[in-house]
Amino acid sequence: MIKVRHKELALFSLKKILKLICLLVVVSIASFWLVEQAPIDPVKIYIGAMSVTPEQKAILEEYWGVNTPAREKYLNWVGNALRGDLGDSLIYRMPVSDVIKERFTASLALMASAWLLSGVIGFFLGIVAGMKNGTWIDKAIKTYCYILLATPTFWLALVMLLIFSVYLGWFPIGLGVPIAVAAQEVTLLDRLKHLILPTITLSLLGVATIAMFTREKLIEVMSSDYVLFAKARGEKGFGLVWRHGVRNVALPAITLQFLGFSELFGGAVLVEQVFSYPGLGQAAVEAGIRSDVPLLLGIVLISTMFVFIGNMMADLIYQFVDPRIKQQETRA
């Protein structure tokens, strides 16, 4: 039934890849320039509390390129980055790519589950509010969303921690895995247990935007002519909303959910910080505070790609999945 238009899809991908390359070049130059402005001495951070001789210090300065001009330093960094080498992290003493790989996997588990959960709950609430437009249920959901949008993410995380970990003791207070257990002995259940509370917190915040959007859209659809016609045919209640409302609202809502990757990442940074969840966001904060420039730049690049993929998915849905747009194109 669905005919994939191969040629158009290929053109679309080509355009997107070119756009991503341009974007990464500009973002890397801009962020490199920004951290270059900061009063950071990589040698001092690397040495830390170690004692070194002046000769060793000179070698380190040579290695970190303290005295090379910024342009040369940037070109070196890009050259290495193209070969997959993003340099070494100063605080983890590991290649940046390894740190990112490990941290991103952890963050992805958190973000993906929160993303799904908030999408489903938000969509459901939006549909209910839109169906019952003007009633007390609608008002309650609307108020709930307004309050949620004004809530500081990290404070909500703190309150969740207070209620469920400190007061009720249902969940561990923090960290991705239990303390004092060997890495091999950490079970999947342990990991899940440490994931639940951060996921719930992160998804609670995502609910508001999607619910408000779904509600508006559904009200719009329900006041259309074809719904009026369906009502005239005798359709009513949930069947009517399901057949004519949900189908029309679902696609824009999913698109919006994909466009929210930037906010999702920002939320993950804060939530990970509160729950000391060892994800990419926490690494970004560490890298920023302790001036780990290579790691910070690596995280900026990877998160830019993450946001880009979200936007691309939204575009893809809009251009290739929505049957109405396909129909318009074939007509034209």
Binding site: A38, Y146, P152, L158, G266, G288, I289, L296, V300, F308
Partner: protein
């Protein structure tokens, strides 16, 4: 505090029409914000000082928000922090609005300028917002300046988009064509014909950006990039409270965050209702 205001309002609201009610709501919320700001400026500094006789007290009549591990009154600290947040937020949203005024007018100058502006908007939206603020504030060497400029330089995107759309619409008007045929320059038209139309948009935009700015400032400060630990900012208070959560001192985290939430909601309500009054199509809802 806020509930009593709402209850009093309900009785008074009966005799008023929608417009009067909206204006009353805006005034009440503005009064609330003014009170917070004024009391944060004139607060008795003795209540902020350490007092080791009254450490870690739970909320009571004397200390409505409790006291911290140094015996400081949390109510006084929260008020000062809120005042600081409001000022940082106001400053940052003023910067954001200024940037969107400049970029909005720039985009009306011609095709090339317009595509440059939309490219810039896309660029700023391509890095996760929080990470971008962190990057800018690191680049500026951190501290209060870093946060204010970081938050200010990243919140202009949505307003610029609104302004661009508005300008595109104004540009199709007859009087713009006539003006152009009279030989007026793009810059003259932007200043004399377009800018006056946009002033209400900018004022409203500034208020609507405000809550986002406050929340981002608090977040960045909470993460440790913003204001210095000596300042009683809400972000600092909450990040300090994290160390005492396991000990069960819930009031250290609960009340300051709740107050920030109320301030943000108040600004939101002002913005929404101002928008309703200013937009004749929405005024009847």
């Amino acid at each position: 505090m806020s509930t009593s205001v709402a209850l009093n309002g309900k009785g008074m609201l009966r005799g008023l029409n929608l417009r009067q009610r909206t204006i009353l709501l805006i005034s009440l919320m503005s009064l609330l914000l003014m009170t917070v700001l004024a009391s944060s400026l004139y607060i008795d500094s003795s209540s902020l000082s350490t007092n080791f006789d009254s450490r870690n007290l739970a909320p009571s009549l004397e200390h409505p928000f409790g006291t911290d591990w140094m015996g400081r009154d949390m109510f006084a600290r929260t008020l000062t922090g809120l005042g600081l947040s409001i000022m940082v937020g106001a400053f940052a949203s003023a910067i954001s609005t200024f940037v969107s005024v400049v970029l909005g007018l720039l985009s009306s100058m011609g095709r090339a300028a317009d595509s440059f502006v939309s490219w810039l908007v896309d660029l700023f939206l391509s890095i996760p917002h929080l990470l971008l603020i962190i990057l800018i504030s690191i680049g500026l060497g951190g501290g209060a300046t870093g946060v204010i400029i970081g938050v200010g330089l990243t919140h202009w995107t949505s307003l610029t988009r609104v302004v661009r759309a508005e300008i595109k619409q104004i540009n199709t008007q007859d009087y713009i064509h006539i003006s152009r045929n009279f030989g007026k320059s793009n810059w003259w038209i932007a200043r004399k014909h377009i800018l006056p139309h946009l002033v209400p948009q900018f004022l409203l935009g500034m208020i609507l950006v405000f809550p986002h700015a406050i929340l981002h400032e608090a977040s960045v400060t909470f993460l440790g990039f913003g204001l210095s630990p000596h300042e009683p900012a809400i972000g600092i208070i909450l990040s300090e409270s994290m160390r005492y959560l396991a000990a069960g001192y819930w009031w250290l985290a609960f009340f300051p965050g709740m107050s920030l939430l109320i301030v943000v909601l108040a600004v939101d309500v002002i913005g929404e209702n101002l928008g309703k009054i200013m937009d004749p199509r929405k005024a009847h809802e």
